[in-house]
């Protein structure tokens, strides 16, 4: 029986200790990382993933929201949704809402942010003033704008009638052509402060020397806006556009307060429709299927937009 020399044995021991301590370090590192990540992940799992997965599960059943039993119906709820005229109409309204929101929210807010950033005095006043609507609850905003649009006593119609433009005084929330644009304007008013602040933050990070160089090259204000401001705000714009799209697709409170989806389904969107189906009609699984469809559309929009953005970059 041969014995390894004591020096070699010592080296082996050292190696083993080194490996052990490396492994221990790795475990320690992993635990440290996990201890930072776990609370967030746990919250996310409990409050987001679990309800989402459960919602998908419910959409394959015929649960009424309260009974202890439910039957598996497979894709039946989804099949019914494709035949449901009101659901399809609601989806269409959601898409119209997205288009109008993008048009009314992104460009005007960006222009406003640029103008405010140029103001020499009272910048804080304008920032605070324009941000003010964002701190109001949507219930307040809804009631406020309902009164503004009131066909009889609302200031818009009163003004139009006073200046002799009676024919332009409409029932803003009662006519099919106007109801969604009117709601989008109210929604825009409630949220533009938030996007304005995002744009203002983005503008602060634009290198001022680029503007100086452009000035020397004789660039005009529109040219500078188009060739410097817009590209510099690319990331902010992406965030804002994504947020506008997501908000437009999942908006509920304002519509519920102002029209409840009416009149005659003219402002029905998926969120109001599924709310009625779930809580007024006890069709929880059917409503859940509708929500899943909306969720898929929101995710698809967001992924699609980000994919397009990355490709163009």
């Amino acid at each position: 029986m041969s014995h390894s020399p004591p020096v070699l044995e010592m080296d082996n021991k050292k190696n083993v200790i080194a490996v052990n301590s490396k492994a221990r370090m790795k475990i320690k590192k992993a635990i440290t990382i996990a201890s930072f990540l776990l609370p967030g992940l746990l919250l996310y799992a409990v409050f987001m993933l679990y309800p989402m997965i459960d919602a998908i599960r419910y959409s394959f059943f015929d649960w009424d929201g309260a009974s202890s039993t439910m039957n598996f119906v497979g894709l039946e709820n989804y099949v019914q949704l494709t035949k449901d005229d009101i659901f399809l109409k609601s989806l269409g309204h959601n898409l119209l809402w997205v288009v109008l929101s993008l048009a009314l929210m992104v460009v005007p807010t960006l222009v406003l942010a640029v103008l405010i950033s140029r103001v020499k005095k009272g910048k804080t006043f304008f920032r605070a003033g324009f941000y003010l609507p964002s701190v109001l609850s949507l219930a307040v905003v809804g009631v406020l704008w309902s009164k503004i649009y009131d066909p009889m006593m609302g200031p818009i119609n009163v003004f139009l009638k006073t200046v002799g433009l009676d024919s332009l005084a409409k029932n803003w929330l009662g006519e099919p052509l106007f109801v969604i644009p009117a709601l989008v304007i109210a929604s825009t008013w409630a949220f533009y402060g938030l996007y304005l602040i995002l744009f203002l933050a983005g503008l602060q990070s634009v290198d001022y020397s680029v503007y100086e160089a452009a000035d020397i090259d004789g660039a005009g204000p529109i040219s500078k806006f188009w060739h410097i401001t817009i590209p510099s705000l690319r990331n902010t714009l992406n965030v804002v556009i994504s947020m506008v799209i997501i908000h437009a697709l999942k908006g509920f409170a304002l519509i519920w307060i102002m029209t409840q989806g009416g009149p005659f389904y003219m402002s029905e969107v998926v969120s109001t429709y599924v709310y009625k189906a779930a809580f007024s009609m006890n069709k929880v699984s059917y409503a859940t299927a509708g929500s899943v469809v909306l969720g898929i559309i929101v995710i698809a929009f967001t992924i699609g937009f980000n994919y397009y953005r990355e490709r163009t970059e």
Partner: protein, 449 residues
């Protein structure tokens, strides 16, 4: 390693806290027995097992609030030792708030006063959110304590889930001073009624205001019109029999509604007007008439308008018939399945059907409900408008469809009536859509037969 152990322990504690926090107080107790519930009595937030928790609709004004306080005082006087916690809230099924409250797992009140009707109550009873009261009916002989008309309406099915609180009487409220100004008398025939509408319109006043944005409010006037144009029997056939919403008689009523909007008898703007807006318009004398129930009486008292507002039923358009105010059971008591103090709820509902209750409420000069109890039939109310309404429904009332139809039909009913007022749908299309909703309800097992 010791540090890691601490971290893992900390995480486990957090996880445990989450699990506990995410558990609702009554979750996983779906099949709890009454014994369990009684044991839980002592663990309620109030810690007062002798309290009866009641939930009633939001007060419209201070007059209602004071009336309820007096009623509760009387109950406490008759039942010493029982505390009463009276809370108010949205008790409409249509808004989804009541089903959500009962589904939420939060400890529910012992009894809830909700907007009545099989179309509403069934939404809760079908999914066992409220409990059947057959045993209590038998034990307390409540059948005999109710007006026969009210008992008939709630006892069609195998189980009884409600104790009617009041009978609705929806008709036309009118501003007497506006009528006088324009030389209009209370109409008693179809022609007189139509003439009154035209006279008021020609005089530059809005003849009828409607809060069509709230489905139930446009349902009130349409129900009144159905009663007048079709007659009670035809409406009964539609709701209880084989009648269809797209039958020519019903389409005729829809055409009349559209025509009245077209003629300017009902303003087109009504489509976006809430019931509150409409009531404001009526009470501030901007419109001559509004279709309402007796609930308006407390508002009249609140604004000192008792002398200038009165009520009449739209005359029958059918020769030789008399139209009755529409309604049915207006508000009704239900007991949530998870209610704890059912015995106290029983005492309360017994009190509501008693002579004591009727005496106290009908002696308020501005009381706005017609009690559903038989005891109230022999008591004359002090208030003039209520007296007149009670007289008109002595032999029963007409039917307000909103109360008697299933969920699919009701959603279609509200939306399509709004569509008619807004000129967004034709009468025929509107009635076809409601019939489609009713067909879906029938397919889902909804029936009043």
């Amino acid at each position: 390693m010791k540090g890691s152990k601490h971290k893992i322990s900390l995480l486990l504690v957090i996880l445990m806290l989450f699990t506990v926090a995410c558990q609702s107080p009554t979750s996983s107790t779906d099949n709890k027995t009454k014994t369990d519930s009684t044991e839980e009595k002592n663990e309620t937030a109030s810690g007062n097992s002798d309290a009866l928790d009641l939930m009633i609709p939001n007060f419209y004004n201070d007059v209602e609030k004071q009336q309820w306080e007096s009623v509760v005082e009387k109950f406490k006087e008759l039942n010493p030792g029982i505390e009463v916690n009276l809370t108010t809230g949205d008790v409409q099924v249509e808004s989804g708030k009541l089903p959500t409250l009962l589904q939420s797992g939060i400890e529910p009140p012992d009894a809830i006063l909700m907007n009545a009707g099989p179309g509403r109550v069934s939404i809760l009873s079908d999914v066992e959110l409220i409990q059947p009261l057959n045993e209590l009916y038998e034990k307390n002989n409540w059948e005999d304590a109710l007006r026969p008309f009210a008992y008939d309406l709630i006892s069609k099915g195998e189980n009884i889930y409600e104790v009617p609180h009041m009978i609705d009487a929806i008709g036309m409220f009118y501003n007497k001073d506006i009528f006088e100004q324009h030389g209009v008398e209370v109409p008693s025939t179809k022609d007189e009624f139509l003439k009154a509408l035209q006279t008021l319109k020609d005089g530059g006043v809005a003849p009828i205001t409607v809060g069509a944005r709230n489905g139930y409010a446009i349902g009130w006037i349409f129900g009144v019109m159905m009663e007048s144009v079709m007659g009670t029997e035809k409406v009964e056939e539609l709701l209880y029999g084989d009648g269809k919403w797209n039958d020519p008689e019903v389409v005729k009523v829809a055409e009349m509604l559209a025509e009245w909007v077209e003629e300017g008898y009902i303003t087109k703007e009504s489509v976006t007007q809430t019931q509150a807006d409409s009531k404001f318009r009526f009470l501030s004398k901007q419109a001559a008439m509004e279709s309402e129930g007796t609930y308006l009486i407390t508002d009249l008292a609140d604004q000192n308008l008792q002398d200038s507002v009165d009520m009449f039923m739209m005359p029958s358009f059918v020769d030789g018939k008399t139209a009755k105010p529409v309604g049915g059971v207006g508000q009704t008591w239900v007991v949530p399945t998870k209610a704890i103090n059912v015995d106290y709820a029983e005492k309360w509902m017994g009190f509501i059907l008693s002579e004591d209750f009727s005496k106290i409420v009908l002696n308020f000069p501005d009381y706005n409900f017609i009690p559903a109890s038989k005891a109230s039939m022999s008591i004359e109310p002090v208030g003039e408008v209520l007296k007149s309404a009670m007289k008109q429904i002595e032999d029963g009332s007409g039917l307000n469809p909103s109360v008697f139809i299933g969920v699919e039909a009701k959603e279609a009913y509200y939306q399509n009536l709004q569509g008619l007022v807004g000129g967004l749908v034709t009468p025929q299309e509107a009635m076809e859509s409601i019939e489609k909703g009713a067909e879906k309800d029938r397919a889902n097992g909804f029936s009043l037969k």
